[in-house]
C-alpha cells in the first residue's frame, strides 16, 4: 500500500473508532506535534505572512501588501526560471520513467543475475543528488570533457555542453534520467504482483508479447506508474544541487539552468529578500499542488484499479 492509496482510502472513510487512548497518543505524538508546529505546517503558514512583508533579517519585517505576489507576475527572470523548470520536469520525468519501465521489463520474470543488475542500475539513484556527481558532470560535459573525448574517437566534434545555454539544461535532464533506478525498483515490485496466469491465458489465446504488454502489463501496472509519476514530478520540481554546482550557483549560462528552487535560494539567501522568497515558496507550493491535482484528476482516465 502506498501513501497515495492511503489518501484515497481516507477520502472514502475508514474504520470507526471504539476505544480511545488519547493520553498515550499525545505522548507518543508529542515530538511529531512539535515538529508540525515549528518545522512544517507552522513555517508554511508563517511564510504566507512573510510573503506580505519586506524583510531582510536585520530590520523588522515591513508590511507591503500584495507587492511580492504582484512581483511574481512581472518578474521576467522568474518567468524564465519557470520555463526552465517546466522543461526540466516535463522532459526528464517521462524519459526517466520510460527507462525505468523498459529496464524493469527486461529484468522481469526470472532473469539470472537479477539482484546484480538491480543493484547496478540502482546505484546512480543514490549518487545522483550528491555534489560529487555534479562535479563529475561538469567535467564530462565540459569543453575538454569525457563526452567530447569519446565523440572525438568517433570523429565527431563536440562543444562545451555546459557552457552553451542551448545544451546546459539537457545535461541536467540526462542526469535526472540517469537516476531511473529507484522508480525501476518500484516497477519491478509491481510487475511481480501481476499473476503469471494472466500471461499464460493470453498466450494460449494467441496474444502476442506486444499485445500482452498493452493489455495486461500496462493496465495492471498503471497504479504503480501513477505513483512513480506523482512522486518523480514532485521530486523533479525540487531539484537544486545539480544546477547549483554545475552553474557555480549562478543558474547560468544566461539563466539556462536557473531552476525555480535556485532562483528562490538566490532571492532568499544571497539577496536576503525573505519576503519575496516566501512569496516564491508559496507559489512553488501552489504549482506543485496544481500538478499533483491534475495528475489525480487525469488518473481517473488511465489508471486501472483492480479492487
Amino acid at each position: 500500500m502506498s501513501a497515495l492509496d492511503e489518501l484515497r482510502q481516507l477520502r472514502h472513510g475508514g474504520v470507526q473508532v471504539r476505544k480511545r487512548d488519547n493520553k498515550a497518543a499525545f505522548w507518543f505524538l508529542a515530538p511529531w506535534f512539535a515538529g508540525l508546529v515549528f518545522i512544517t505546517i507552522g513555517p508554511v503558514l508563517a511564510s504566507f505572512g512573510l510573503g506580505f512583508t519586506k524583510y531582510n533579517l536585520i530590520q523588522p519585517p515591513k508590511f507591503i501588501g500584495f507587492d511580492n505576489f504582484a512581483r511574481i507576475f512581472t518578474d521576467e527572470r522568474l518567468h524564465n526560471a519557470l520555463g526552465v523548470t517546466f522543461t526540466y520536469v516535463l522532459v526528464s520525468v517521462p524519459l526517466q520513467l520510460a527507462c525505468a519501465l523498459g529496464v524493469a521489463l527486461l529484468l522481469d520474470r526470472g532473469l539470472r543475475g537479477l539482484a546484480f543488475y538491480r543493484s547496478a542500475f540502482y546505484l546512480p539513484s543514490l549518487l545522483g543528488s550528491s555534489v560529487a556527481i555534479a562535479v563529475l558532470w561538469t567535467q564530462i560535459f565540459g569543453a575538454e570533457g569525457l563526452l567530447n573525448r569519446v565523440l572525438g574517437f568517433f570523429g565527431v566534434e563536440g562543444k562545451g555542453w555546459i557552457s552553451d545555454p542551448d545544451t546546459a539544461l539537457s545535461t541536467l535532464i540526462v542526469l535526472n534520467v540517469w537516476t531511473f533506478g529507484s522508480p525501476m525498483i518500484i516497477f519491478l515490485a509491481g510487475l511481480r504482483q501481476i499473476p503469471a496466469v494472466y500471461y499464460e491465458a493470453a498466450a494460449i489465446d494467441g496474444a502476442s508479447k506486444w499485445s500482452q504488454f498493452w493489455r495486461i502489463t500496462l493496465p495492471l501496472l498503471s497504479p504503480i506508474l501513477f505513483f512513480n509519476l506523482v512522486l518523480q514530478i514532485i521530486h523533479a520540481f525540487q531539484s537544486f544541487t545539480q544546477a547549483f554546482v554545475v552553474s557555480g550557483g549562478t543558474g547560468g549560462p544566461s539563466d539556462s539552468t536557473m531552476f525555480y528552487t535556485l532562483y528562490l535560494y538566490q532571492q532568499g539567501f544571497s539577496r536576503f529578500d525573505m519576503g519575496y522568497a516566501s512569496a516564491l515558496a508559496w507559489f512553488l507550493l501552489l504549482i506543485i499542488a496544481a500538478f499533483t491535482a491534475i495528475n489525480f484528476w487525469a488518473a481517473k482516465y488511465w489508471v486501472f484499479y483492480d479492487d
Binding site: L29, G35, V44, R112, A132, T138, Q238, A281, I288
Partner: protein
C-alpha cells in the same frame, strides 16, 4: 463441412514434422533472447556506471593525464591528488568528514526515536481526530523543503542556531521525515495484534508494549530508516549550504562545493579525489544495506 470439422483435430497428430520450422525458429529466438537481454543490460549498466568508474580511475592519475585518457587503464597509481585535495582547504577534509559523520549520527538517532514513536501511535492507538492527523502526516511527506526553509531559517537564526548542527538535527528529533513515519506505520500494521493484546492482558502499558514488543520486532523497518537517513543526510546539500556557512562547520558536500569553486578547473585530479572520498561512505552504505534499501523502496512504493 462436417467432415472437415471432424477431421480438423487429427492432422497435427499424424504430421508433426509440419510444425517444426516455426517451432525451431521460436526456440532459436528463445535461446537468443536471454543472451541478448544480458548483453543489452550489461551494455546499459556499463554506459551508466562508466563515468563513475572513470572518475575513480582518473583520481589516481596525474592531473594532466585526465584530459587525455578517456579509458579505464591505469599506468601508475598516484595518490598525490588525494593528499593535495585533503589539505586544500583549512581545516582539512578530515574535519568535514567528521562533521558529516556527527550530523548523520544525530539525524539517524533522531529519526529512529521520533518516527517510531509517532508510527506506534498511528498504527496501534485510538485517539480523537486520528484520521485527520494521519492525513496531515501523509500530506507533509510531499511538502517541499523549499516551501518551509525561509521562515525556518528566520526562526533558527533568531535563536542563534545558524552554524550549528541543530537546525539540521532538531527537525529529525521532531519526526518531520514523515516518509519514515509512514514506512514504520506500514510495518507495525503487519505485526500480529495478538502480541500486544496478550501483553495488555498481562498488565503492560503502551510504553512497555512499544519498547519491549513492537520495537524489537520492527528491526527491519528501523534498518531501512537508518540506511536511508544515512544516505539522504550525507548527500543533502541544500539545507547544509544554508545553515552551515562557517568553514569549521562545513560538511562534506558543502566543503566539496566550496573546494570546486575555489580551485581552477585544471585541478580536476584533486577535485575528483575528494569527490571519490565523499561518495565512498554512500557506496559502503549501499553495499551493506542493499537488502533494506530495495525492500524499503518496494514496500512503500508498490502495493
Amino acid at each position: 463441412m462436417t467432415t472437415d470439422l471432424r477431421r480438423a483435430p487429427t492432422p497435427p497428430r499424424s504430421a508433426p514434422p509440419a510444425t517444426p520450422p516455426p517451432a525451431a525458429r521460436t526456440s532459436v529466438w528463445r535461446r537468443l533472447i536471454v543472451p541478448a537481454k544480458h548483453l543489452g543490460l550489461i551494455l546499459i549498466g556499463f554506459v551508466m556506471l562508466y563515468p563513475v568508474l572513470w572518475m575513480v580511475v582518473s583520481s589516481l592519475r596525474p592531473g594532466d593525464e585526465i584530459f587525455r585518457s578517456p579509458g579505464l587503464i591505469l599506468d601508475s597509481l598516484r595518490t598525490e591528488n588525494y593528499v593535495e585535495g585533503w589539505y586544500a582547504l583549512t581545516p582539512s577534509f578530515g574535519t568535514y568528514l567528521l562533521n558529516s559523520a556527527v550530523l548523520v549520527l544525530g539525524c539517524i538517532i533522531g529519526n529512529l526515536v521520533s518516527c517510531s514513536m509517532a508510527a506506534y501511535a498511528f498504527a496501534r492507538l485510538h485517539f480523537s481526530g486520528k484520521r485527520w492527523w494521519f492525513g496531515i502526516m501523509l500530506g507533509t511527506i510531499m511538502l517541499p523543503v523549499h516551501v518551509i526553509i525561509v521562515p525556518q531559517y528566520v526562526l533558527f537564526s533568531q535563536v542563534g542556531w545558524v552554524n550549528t548542527f541543530l537546525p539540521l538535527i532538531v527537525p529529525k528529533i521532531l519526526a518531520t521525515d514523515a516518509f519514515f513515519v509512514f514506512l514504520m506505520v506500514q510495518f507495525i500494521r503487519g505485526l500480529p495484534r495478538e502480541l500486544d493484546e496478550a501483553a495488555r492482558i498481562d498488565g503492560c502499558g503502551h510504553p512497555r508494549i512499544f519498547a519491549q514488543i513492537i520495537l524489537p520486532l520492527m528491526k527491519p523497518a528501523l534498518a531501512t530508516t537508518t540506511i536511508f537517513t544515512f544516505i539522504w543526510t550525507w548527500n543533502d546539500f541544500f539545507t547544509q549550504l544554508i545553515y552551515l556557512t562557517d568553514p569549521d562547520m562545513y560538511t562534506v558536500p558543502v566543503a566539496l562545493r566550496s573546494f570546486v569553486d575555489s580551485t581552477v578547473a585544471t585541478s580536476w585530479g584533486s577535485q575528483f579525489a575528494m569527490s571519490v572520498v565523499s561518495i565512498i561512505p554512500i557506496f559502503l552504505a549501499f553495499l551493506i544495506g542493499q537488502r533494506y534499501l530495495v525492500k524499503g523502496i518496494a514496500t512503500t512504493g508498490g502495493k
